[in-house]
Symmetry: D2
Subunit: 288 residues, 4 copies
């Protein structure tokens, strides 16, 4: 029995390769996580265990996929960035998205008991959806990252105040919502401070800044590299010797993957870590 | 702090909605499963526990996503079919693919200890990639399903013979490969029977036919429905009353999701189950 | 000097092949034709010469591209239909669209002096834009064609009444518009008849129905063929012998290309001309 | 009669907007121009009238579409470049391609009698197909342009030698082809010089370099601008005041559109004309 009679159906597969020489961001989002958070009693406004579980899963994704240069997570979402020169899976969108989503989900379920030892998972299980977007210039990429971090800040300030009004102020959700309607950041800071003696600046960085995951090398002096301009002016394919590729691979494998809660909007973060934009591994930190 | 300055980055998201009025097949495949199977000592040529774990995960996916009408699995792959009228997630390809891949992975990891109680998972964890393909006509869809089942048959006959030569015949892999080179189905049947007294026809159906998962209603007499022609001639959007939709939803929820090992190439399977092509729920079987 | 250094830029071309086994409609529209019509003094509400020039260009397009099975034109737009089995240019969308748009434009400019002998073209010249849309089922395709013909009817009834109010009733554009605001078809018929003794039914068919262009064979008795169901149930690729293909090609080349003004919404038009949906050439009419 | 019943067919139109912040190149090619050139007796290896007709049509396209910043033509092909910030037609690919192809064709047919006064066009008429490709970085764009100009050089040197062997050397096509097989550029130069006393360097620039079309402003001193780096680092949308836009529009309209035959591979061409990459109009030359 030959299979050829039916094999014509393969023609219906349509290519979805992402435009070369662009930054690829794969963002994943928890599906129905409001309900999921309620089911497992996540703390409000932030559940530290849940965030650390997200970070552990993201770290595992980066360890399995060295082509990812940086990831940023907040709440139940995570964005993974492939360098513009990346050719993994021939840049097929569905393959990049599904691999990240699947790997992330596997670790999320697997590590669950570590972070929630007392509440085992039961169906319906947590799941994530994902999409890929590509950005031509470094500025576009950084604006994307800034967009997510500003969103983190706006939502966290709102949620912190909203839940303070409820948990400490005794309001119900409707009253709290009404109180916050039309307020600016300064108003919310004022409510927190004057009513509840909470200085928002002293809130944990993981809540205010989200989490950024990357391979760590020795930081450089700002002003000594121009990785952004170099990256922008690139034409692919980049020609590198096999020896160079091998050296890069080894240094990347040695570099620790860290989870930090830093400002990624200002230049400083990027200036000190030129490898994020250049894709050239830096020096392995001595203490590691 | 307004987020508007960065929000322009949303413009870079490109729509990926699948053409309306076509059948959508999402196929997922295990990533690096040869290595994975070795790590956990999967039996050769087929590991019943591994297949049943795949089937359990597929069943769970169908239970969570009632828009899926039928699924077919073999080895470490599974194909899920959305009816041509389906509008779930506005038919966005990345959303359909990532949701299925993530849900499947979550159950695969979660159910692992049920099927492999003695070998706990450890990193790197199992993961799957996926892609969506769309088919305009019923014939195209059925040819796709036939293609996968023929593939199952071809591979299983080969693997059964290959491993018999090794496990029962004492050959090494190279010898077995050489022995099978250029042989036809009849030759392999003959090798199995004359050398090892194995009648391939008596092998378990799950290995020979793969697994088909669907909602089960009372089968109808072949020839009494013409669901294929009806489905082909459809123009979407289908206009149904809310009452009808609600009734359909309830009947679908009541229908048991079954896993069978049947021939899906011949007409009979489809003729007896018109709901698979019509998307109109049938009668709930009395015994359930 | 080798060209290889720069040839990598070819990788940036992204495939745009249209899904197999679907009907492809390429619709072209005149660019800025309101202004263009004013410049050349087109008659209102319909300019017979301009419509016949459109039809002549469409006829020429069909003669140069035998893969087109039917075309429908109204005002400054024309829709060309490729059969679902068509593989011209590997179904690349930009190639199909640009070829039709270019060929149409060439004939429009070339035939201009035949239809407008006294007003030679001068820059800016007439031009057209185009797009391709694909339809999975015969019903979808016929609904598309019906959509365009209903649009023709609605616009022509409006325009006929609007210009009667101005040209015969002495109104200015604002008064005419106000008079017609909120009126139904019956109202417009009544205005035409009672005020201007115009029976809309007696208006020329080319204005009321638009123009349909196709290869003409001997019509068949309605009910004797079921081309729609056959077309819908097709799986591609269609296997035909070379001899059959050659015979088809010859009969198609012999068939006259006609321009008619018929109802293409009702079944009758399609029932009598099964070759439009089956793509199998009919009998050459004897009188030709 | 309402049209709503059929209007659902509009849903089948799929968006084809090109990724923002990338350079868009629309390349058009003559369809079947070998045959066409024979029909109208084009001179070999180059027909000056035919090339000038192409250039006249390209110039007209640029005059009608001010969003095009530069165009490059050789033989029967032309590439038109839209600046990376261009938002014409919402960057819809089919609209950009079809508009350029149609406008070009209209002028080609319209201007034909100016360049070929003695040989009127007759069906089948000349036509062009087209496609859009997008390039993220200035280097990618310049490499694309270089690719086309190197192609021009390679083909012209080959054709010049090939036709010299035939027209001056008395060979037939087969002999000429055989003579050139495996030769390098230096060999062809030598054949031209030693056998026919032709110094290839003295051949007309239009044949050796092709034609580059652009808006001309006063050239600047190389080294005084860095338009490439500025363009690469851009994030869109570019925020410009209405007044600035209006000023730009006027200066662009005043700038003469020139057709030159220059080296566009080296930096000098681009360094002297920063407006090509920056999209900021320069100074209008005084002599104009």
């Amino acid at each position: 029995m030959a299979n050829s009679k039916f094999e014509y159906v393969k023609q219906f597969e349509q290519p979805d390769n992402i435009l070369p020489n662009t930054w690829v961001v794969v963002r994943i989002d928890g599906r129905g996580f409001t309900k999921f958070a309620n089911k497992y009693g996540f703390e409000k406004p932030n559940d530290k265990r849940a965030l650390e579980l997200m970070n552990a899963a993201a770290r595992a994704v980066m360890a399995e996929l060295p082509d990812i240069t940086i990831a940023y997570g907040v709440s139940d979402e995570y964005s993974f960035v492939f360098h513009k020169t990346c050719v993994l899976f021939e840049r097929r969108s569905s393959k990049l998205v599904s691999t990240i989503v699947s790997t992330f989900t596997a670790y999320y379920v697997h590590y669950w008991p570590t972070y929630f030892p007392d509440t085992p998972l039961s169906p319906p299980l947590p799941s994530f959806d994902g999409r890929a977007v590509c950005y031509p210039s470094v500025q576009n990429l950084r604006d994307y990252m800034s967009w997510r971090q500003v969103d983190c800040h706006i939502n966290n300030l709102y949620n912190t105040t909203f839940w303070a009004l409820i948990q400490l102020g005794g309001m119900d959700a409707t009253e709290a919502e009404k109180t916050l309607k039309g307020t600016y950041a300064a108003d919310k800071n004022e409510i927190l401070f004057s009513r509840f003696s909470i200085n928002y600046n002293n809130e944990p960085e993981i809540y205010k800044k989200g989490s950024v995951v990357f391979r760590d090398y020795e930081p450089v002096e700002p002003g000594t590299h121009n990785a952004a301009a170099e990256a922008d002016s690139l034409a692919v394919p980049v020609q590198q010797s096999k020896t160079q590729n091998e050296t890069d691979r080894k240094r990347r494998a040695k570099a620790p993957i860290v989870v930090e809660h830093l400002d990624i909007i200002k230049d400083d973060f990027w200036d000190r870590r030129p490898w994020l934009l250049s894709n050239k591994p830096g020096k392995i930190p001595k203490e590691v």
